[in-house]
Symmetry: C2
């Protein structure tokens, strides 16, 4: 039995409304990646009203409004952007288009919530930073592999409580199932998806900065490869990188498209967090050969080894915090600088990656 | 409950004699590291006669001959080296002394079996290579974390059968328990132990070359730190490195001295081997939070996720092969070039490591 692939992974629940019904209308613009469902599930569970859906492809809009019956198909992107009641626009359009769309959304006085990775070039990042400065609006990003996995939320809480002391290192493994026949054309076009360290590496760098409590980092080394999919010459099926944070913590991550068909999930996502007083391992989407349940967290400290089944425990506070941040101008969910720093480091890692084969 | 620390980890059994009793007399010279017990257990199980023990410290000799009653305390190192019947000298002396001792042993027409890491300088390596060339004798190394763990032997067999296709990457995690009060002075002296990437990194690089079927590799990046043990200024409590092999396979490994006291083993050694057709994970010394038994292997391929308890299955063929190699001039156990290449890459990784803190 296979669970949905990463593109269609859309957790539900795990939130409670932070606003009255109708107080936070949002629109979904650009439905290219299935993450839009996870994004809207999170927003809706936190009380957002999914008011509009727009995409150039009517079939995608039709599918979307079946899932969110309160959403209306918009006649154009402009209809959405010109609705003064819409507070936030969420988008999972093609990666290369996410940054420019964000600038357009902010120019209309709305907040923006992009699927990861939010940009594919440093120029797009500079433009987004400038637009945030000019408008005072938010450019948020759906780093789902941390924000939408309960074990990651749980791990963040443990670290904040000092459960493993000072965080010295974060290792992330982010394998994904390729499922090539299900993929759209842009998935195989380098300029459109950005490269593997940008596309799926973005999760990894964000979680490193977060768990290490770091403000910035240097990319020490990075590699990419197309080891085994030469029929897609612009695909990178493997990437990895090492980073050193400004606070001395180190990071290594690997991302790839080699999830075998026999795995009971789209990827055996792991994260190891080494601290001075203990360590945490997360088995995010299943516990191979042991347990198909997601969000298994292992904590080893000075006293014990402990397995914690975190599914159904802490939920996904990000979405409610994001809504409140938009309404109140706060930065509970994630700071703008952290959001952009993770994006920047992906771009830098991708740019300096050495190709292997 | 804690199992013995790494220094006293000495697997037993897992071999069958390959020679008649008395046909392969060996001597243990230099008992500084507890690995000498694992080395001699392996040799004895494969039929070697443990004839002599020598160490400057009589207490260590006394302890040794209690474990191997057939062994006689030698009056001097020379007594051992001048016994014409001794075929091989095994040593777990201080790392900085292992290379020079090996050259001396080879000069006496005997084969040599050093604990890892076998050298601490490139000069020692060059001397050892020259001595092997001059004498035709063997300079073998006890890379125990692969050679003396059944899951690693099992994994090697799986890879040879094509179970995961082409090996693209090996990730190794080699945490160790520090247990500082039990450590001798040399453990904290950089010139004597060599540095963390040499000392415990040597296992990691050897297993990478082996599992990837690689002849050589480049060190892409390396880091070391003394994050949390400033009272031992020459200790490195953290190290990591990335390598790219001549066949395109990539490697990352981390080694550290942060095993928490609550872990039921001296280290949560892991190895992830990514192939084009599947992947293998080894949990070498225990399966945290699930199972205290060592040598758990997980295989995921196109059909299934499979957990394989490898303890008691394949044994440790290295020792018998080494004995036969010594007697017959073959290279079944490990080629001399592979032995030295792993040592060389550790030295290079250590030399180019960037210090973090």
């Amino acid at each position: 039995m296979q669970k949905a692939d990463g593109m269609n992974y859309a957790p539900t629940g795990g939130g409670k409304p932070v606003v009255e019904k109708g107080a936070f209308p949002v629109a979904a613009v650009g439905l290219d990646h299935g993450h839009i469902y996870g994004m809207c599930n999170g927003l809706a569970a936190a009380g957002a009203e999914i008011r509009w859906a727009w995409d150039p492809d009517p079939a995608r809009v039709e599918q979307f409004v079946k899932t969110y019956p309160e959403a209306r198909p918009a006649r154009s992107k402009q209809e959405v952007l010109q609705d003064p009641e819409v507070r936030l626009v969420a988008s999972a359009c093609v990666p290369a288009d996410r940054g420019p769309l964000g600038c357009e959304v902010l120019a209309h006085g709305k907040d923006y919530f992009a699927d990861k990775a939010p940009m594919t070039t440093l120029e797009q990042l500079a433009a987004a930073r400038a637009q945030v400065a000019a408008t005072g609006r938010k450019f948020a990003v759906y780093y789902s592999e941390r924000l939408h996995t309960e074990c990651s939320i749980y791990a963040g809480n443990l670290i904040a409580e000092g459960a493993i002391g000072r965080v010295l290192q974060v290792i992330g493994l982010g394998p994904h199932r390729l499922n090539a026949p299900s993929r759209p054309a842009w998935f195989f076009e380098r300029e459109r998806y950005g490269g593997i360290l940008i596309d799926i590496g973005s999760h990894q760098i964000e979680q490193f900065l977060f768990f290490a409590g770091a403000g910035d980092a240097q990319v020490v080394s990075a590699r990419t490869a197309n080891y085994n999919h030469k029929q897609y010459p612009e695909l990178e099926d493997f990437g990895d990188a090492s980073l050193t944070a400004d606070n001395g913590a180190t990071n290594y991550f690997r991302v790839d498209w080699f999830t075998p068909d026999g795995l009971g999930a789209w990827g055996d996502g792991r994260c190891f967090i080494l601290g001075t007083e203990g360590y945490i391992e997360m088995r995010k989407y299943l516990d191979i050969g042991r347990d198909p349940e997601s969000d298994q967290l292992y904590l080893v400290n000075g006293r014990e080894e402990k397995r914690i089944a975190t599914h159904g425990t802490v939920g996904f506070p990000f979405f409610g915090e994001l809504i409140l941040d938009c309404l109140e101008g706060t930065e509970r969910a994630m700071t703008q600088e952290h959001t952009f720093k993770a994006a920047e480091l992906c771009l830098l890692a991708q740019a300096q990656a050495v190709q292997v084969e």
